[in-house]
């Protein structure tokens, strides 16, 4: 955490005797931006609260304290009396925990990718679906569902083409297409070129999807329910699918969080400070897209998380990506886990699509944050 002032006793550079005396006496004029400890703690608390709540409430409600105790029991060496019977323990660990963990992973990844895109493209409206992820996944999933509907049988000739796989491949394919189209702009391409290429690719793929749906109206409901997003209750299977990608994405992006700060002051400035802006941007976009594609493949198109969470974090905890990225992971995960709780309990036993809940909940909350925080210069 960036909380160490100069006067903390760290050795000053040698050979600067006179200056050193002054520096040690005067406090550093202002606290440099970075991840503040209290926000980190708040983020961890949010994740813990979301996890306990998400596990405790449902068709069978369990006491949150017992759930917390049962969760702690998962830590090796901890043995607490939760007071839950065997069936309730199974609900906690086999049914609800995987879904909550999936929500944390998907929400954290989407929010992180969104925050990264906003920095890389210097565009506050950038979201993880910007470069064609949504349209690509949408077209591929529609194609698979339609084909399945037409033949009424497995037309994939034994190939394991599932909806998640189609979504993943479609999403990454679209981003690749966007990149190639943007790269055709030549060496001096700006971030804006890539965004425009993303718009073109998205429009093209969406048109294809619309055409397919129009000719196969019977598939519309299935396609839409996928597009509006939902977290599955498929045990640990989906978690294990997303986990490696989420870890890689988070690792790459969090390591580059300071570089993202440098990129915000301009490509020329970043270059003359020793960075390779084009190279960094490619790496960051690739990592963010990979994570997004993995998230989309298991959860459908959940909108809003990628925009609302990083922006809220920015307004509350400062404009530095050293704070925005790690906090987006935590608050994004907590937000989606809580959203999922609402999605599956409000109209129980039916489930509301989680994408609908993120928008209904997120919109007013965002407005509230806008109103109650200090004006942010744009």
């Amino acid at each position: 955490m960036a909380e160490t002032p100069v006067s903390s006793g760290a050795p000053a550079p040698s050979g600067r005797g006179a200056r050193r005396a002054r520096d040690v006496r005067d406090p550093f004029p202002a606290r440099p931006a970075g991840l503040r400890r209290r926000w980190l703690v708040a983020g961890i608390v949010a994740v813990a609260v979301a996890a306990v709540a998400g596990i405790a409430y449902g068709p069978v409600s369990l006491p949150p304290g017992s759930v917390a105790a049962e969760l702690l029991n998962l830590v090796p060496g901890v043995h607490l009396q939760s007071g839950l019977n065997e069936r309730e323990i199974a609900i906690v660990t086999d049914l609800r925990l995987p879904r909550v963990v999936l929500g944390l992973l998907v929400g954290g990844t989407l929010a992180l990718a969104g925050g990264c895109y906003q920095g890389v493209f210097r565009n506050p409206l950038a979201d993880p679906h910007l470069l064609g992820v949504a349209a690509g996944a949408g077209l591929a999933v529609t194609a698979v569902i339609v084909m399945r509907g037409v033949t009424g049988a497995d037309i994939t000739v034994g190939l394991p083409v599932t909806v998640p796989l189609a979504a993943f491949v479609g999403a990454l394919g679209a981003v690749l297409l966007t990149y190639l189209l943007g790269a055709a702009g030549g060496r001096d391409r700006s971030p804006a070129t890539l965004i425009l290429a993303g718009v073109a690719v998205s429009a093209f793929l969406s048109a294809g999807q619309t055409y397919l749906l129009q000719n196969n109206a019977e598939s519309i409901q299935e396609v839409y329910s996928w597009m509006l997003g939902r977290l599955t209750t498929a045990g640990w299977h989906d978690v294990l699918i997303v986990l490696p990608y989420a870890v890689v994405t988070a690792g790459v992006l969090l390591l580059h969080r300071r570089e993202l700060d440098v990129l915000t002051i301009g490509d020329d400035e970043a270059s003359s400070l020793g960075l390779h802006p084009q190279r960094s941007r490619l790496l960051l976009v690739a990592a963010a897209s990979l994570g997004t594609a993995a998230a989309v493949s298991v959860s459908g198109l959940i909108g809003f998380v990628g925009i609302i969470v990083p922006h809220t974090v920015r307004m509350l905890a400062g404009a530095s990506y050293r704070a925005i990225l790690p906090l987006s992971v935590l608050f994004g995960g907590a937000f989606l886990a809580l959203t999922d709780l609402i999605a599956r309990t409000v109209a129980a036993p039916a489930e509301i699509p989680i994408g609908v809940v993120t928008a209904i909940l997120g919109g007013p909350f965002f407005a509230l944050v806008l109103r109650t925080t200090k004006r942010v210069e744009t």
């Binding site: 002032p5 606290r31 440099p32 300071r258 020329d268 530095s320």
Partner: protein
């Protein structure tokens, strides 16, 4: 490697800070620099002047390593620029662009701290030494009281000082300033340029700048380089470059050059008789 460069800077002060020979740069198929030669001694202040489109900013960007050269060479303190990695170059050359991006929500202190990037390990964070350098720079540029203010809330003159502070925090012996005063009123122009001159004398910095205001350019620079059409057409002390014929030829301007205390003063004059033509 970069440490070697820095030591070389101190040890062999007789090497020119910038040595450009036969530099050709083409942008989007258009030749912008058509064989430019330029030498700047260590500790010298050289200002490049010339009409719009002469290639002044391109020359500065090439020296900063931001543009690839089609032909020719750029040496920085004796080392070919192409032999330096970006990070090494960043410790030798600091540049302030004409109108840098003002990032939303970034505080002055954080902006200036970014100048320490070439010293911070790739995935590391700033050290106490980096913070000390920044505190020192803020103090010298009288920016300490603005330290926690968002950059976007500062006035034009204050922002220009912050941009300069970021470049100084880089600790590079060569400072490139592209139109450092074009957005400032006359008083703040003088304030910023006096500050640059003070820093140059205190730290032994070399300054290579571009400027549009010819009188101001001549007052502060040791030497002026007049560019036109991608070439250097005059190079010398202000008194030899700021002469009416040269300016008339290359700027298509009617000017009178008057002797001033710190160099020639260039005054634009209208063509005779024009004013009488105006009705009313």
């Amino acid at each position: 490697m970069s440490e070697d460069v820095r030591t070389a800077v101190g040890a062999e002060a007789d090497l020119p800070a910038v040595e450009v020979t036969g530099l050709r740069v083409t942008l989007g198929g258009t030749p912008i620099l058509a064989g430019v030669g330029l030498s700047v001694s260590a500790g010298e202040w050289v200002t490049v002047i010339g009409p719009n489109g002469a290639g002044k900013s391109t020359l500065l960007r090439a020296v900063a390593g931001l543009l690839p050269a089609d032909a020719g060479s750029i040496r920085l303190f004796g080392t070919p620029s192409t032999r330096l990695s970006r990070r090494e170059r960043a410790r030798v050359v600091a540049a302030v662009a004409q109108s840098p991006v003002v990032p939303a929500g970034m505080a002055v202190v954080d902006y200036v701290l970014l100048g320490r990037t070439p010293y911070i390990p790739p995935f590391g964070r700033e050290s106490a030494a980096d913070l000390a350098v920044v505190a020192d720079v803020l103090d010298r540029l009288e920016l300490t009281r603005f330290a926690s203010r968002p950059l976007a809330t500062l006035s034009g003159g204050e922002r220009q000082r912050v941009f300069l502070a970021r470049a100084l925090a880089q600790g590079a012996p060569l400072l490139l300033l592209d139109e450092p005063t074009s957005a400032l009123d006359i008083g703040h122009q003088q304030e910023v340029l006096e500050l640059v001159d003070q820093l140059r004398r205190d730290d032994g910095l070399t300054v290579l700048a571009t400027m549009h205001d010819l009188s101001v350019a001549g007052e502060y620079a040791d030497r002026l380089v007049l560019m036109a059409g991608g070439r250097v057409v005059a190079d010398g002390p202000p008194r030899e470059v700021l002469v009416e014929e040269l300016l008339a030829t290359h700027y298509q301007a009617r000017v009178r050059v008057i002797d001033g205390d710190h160099g020639p003063l260039v005054v634009p004059v209208r063509a005779t008789g024009r004013r009488a033509d105006r009705p009313g």
